[in-house]
Symmetry: C2
Subunit: 391 residues, 2 copies
Amino acid sequence: MIKCVKCNEVDAIAKAGIVRGKQRYHCEHCDYYFTLPLVDAAAEKTPTRKHQTTIIDIARTLQVSKSTVSRALRGHADINPQTRQAILELAKELDYQPNLLAYGLAKNVSLTIGIIVPEFINSFFPYVIIGAQEIANPRGYHILICQSNESHAIEIENTKVLMASRVDGILASLTGETPDVEHFRKFEKAGIPVVYFNRVCDNVNASKVIVDDYEGAFKGVEHLIENGCSKIAHIAGPPNLMISKNRLQGYVNALKKHNLTVDESLIVRTNLTTKSATDCARHLFSMADRPDAVFCLNDPAAISAMLVAKELKIKIPDDVAFVGFSDEPAAALMEPGLTTLAQPTNEIGKTAIGLLFDQMNASRETFEHVTKILQTKLIVRKSSLHGVTKI
Amino acid sequence: MIKCVKCNEVDAIAKAGIVRGKQRYHCEHCDYYFTLPLVDAAAEKTPTRKHQTTIIDIARTLQVSKSTVSRALRGHADINPQTRQAILELAKELDYQPNLLAYGLAKNVSLTIGIIVPEFINSFFPYVIIGAQEIANPRGYHILICQSNESHAIEIENTKVLMASRVDGILASLTGETPDVEHFRKFEKAGIPVVYFNRVCDNVNASKVIVDDYEGAFKGVEHLIENGCSKIAHIAGPPNLMISKNRLQGYVNALKKHNLTVDESLIVRTNLTTKSATDCARHLFSMADRPDAVFCLNDPAAISAMLVAKELKIKIPDDVAFVGFSDEPAAALMEPGLTTLAQPTNEIGKTAIGLLFDQMNASRETFEHVTKILQTKLIVRKSSLHGVTKI
DNA sequence: ACCGGTTCCGAAAGCGTTCCCGATAGATCA
DNA sequence: TGATCTATCGGGAACGCTTTCGGAACCGGT
């Protein structure tokens, strides 16, 4: 029980910070400040964390300087092979793991790559991340995954975290809300390279890895037309993303090529949430003159739409055919299987982090941003075979 | 062009390390070592990374000491409100982000939690991770995800990385290969808490978060029996994992309760890969007296098995009924839908990291490990309704 | 015997924080 | 009018590592 040294009050004592290792109190009764030693400091703060072996521990037991230990561990020249051997052996015996925090502080690196994705529930981003890890891990880098949850605000928060973590480079795929990449400017200023993949804005001066969305969409829609669909709707994505624009353009041009009219009322936009995609589908299927096919921005949207169709007892593909984008594993499991455009997910991850490493190693002046465009592949399943059963 | 200072050779010059800021060369022609200053050091090493604002920058422009800046930023007492105000404003203006490496080094923490999962392609682990993040992020912690890829060797490697990163705590779900948790001992020695979830070994002295696997399996198998199945096979998991044992036991006891014989030949083991699960299914369906139901360790295995059944034109659920475990989103999309036992994934993540934080804040002596057992829920879909269409 | 060169190593600065201590000026009290 | 307190701040060590620099010991050649 703490008593006020002035008025002996015990109930109106509030803590007022810790100063010079002593607890400062404030008696709200007589408005008097006073300090008392932290007798139970050990009980309050429990430094349960123990010491982990450091370079200095090794140096001491081997009677050498820490410089020498560092040299041995880092494989530098300028060291006697026997000394090195002894140090390496002791390090192994003690299971020494260098403190990456200290290493990073000294070298001004962190050996981590930040990666910002909108979500990782669907398989697309996990596969990309795995591809990136397969390149990064052997090089001694690890990956800090941030999830923006399709929220621009969280994405901004993520950039701050990655900035504070002093990541050496960033892979980013934007949310459907992200209007610009202002919040990434700080990385540019700090000389930290950013490579965008999959979800990119236009007018961004950075390296990018995308797939040929235009051509993929074109192939997908043309495939629907060839299967006898003539009234093809499109569930498009948010207008800020290039994938939305390019896939929409592919859709439009495929229609035009085959002399089908482009009906604006058949183009609806999802904000990439399940609910939004479901709403889009409901809207399309409630139209008086229902479309006979839907080309969807991505597989999750297509799956949501197919579920709506099933619920409404609309036959797939006889009444409405579907084509998605990405070849999620679930696309193959649906009944009927969802026709979709496969993306080389693993290669996207590898290519993106490859570009990132290129930029990290390049000198700022000579480096030129590049955009790599990978190819999609049409995977035909039953969902799109509109004419087959009809004929 | 580098010339040998002895023989003037230019083509046989090899670099031999950098010593005292000078490049050391070796002429392989006359076997002579020599050093030359690094005239183009700037061009070779491109320190493209720029300076990021530090506490010292703020201190200098405001003519105060770095201690004062630190105090202001950390919200300590012992500082003039006006001084604090000025510092906070300048920090915001400069978009100051504290260097977490330096912070961690000074405080002997890293503000990161390591999480080791066998994979994150299926949705189970991503959902758990998201649950963990929802607790960790608001507390200022971020999460370093390591993927063991169902490999014990990689899992060991992961523990080293997390050790080097000086994570403050660990969430782990073991691989199907992991025989023991020896490689986690070092965390215990270092006073870094580990909480296991989902995939745990027995004889581990640590906090754990699991679901009631026994009861879930029991419910699932009993459900099959109630639907008229009498020859129920089980695709079990690796014997090292508790989930395998408990789900197997639930399967066995459900059979016993209903006076069904436990046929060892109907119990096959998957190593948790798709291929292995597929092989298991093929084996079961090639038996002379084919089972009329399969209870599978988890949904990915169940889905693989269902695909084999479909390929063999075995009708689901009329010929063979299925029950899985986990309620993967794909389970609902299959045709017929996969009956399964839903796990509270988000809650698992939240509970696990909650236990972790408890242990991080507790004093070593008083802390007691706890095991939290969460409940499963049977989600009935068509895959298990064996008797319904038969009758 | 001297000298240039090589080999190996230790000392020390620095990375950006935190935090403990001591210092100072002003306020308050007896 | 000292003496004690208070409010505020600066100095500097420490965290574990890298890296530069200088120096001692030793080598072979003249």
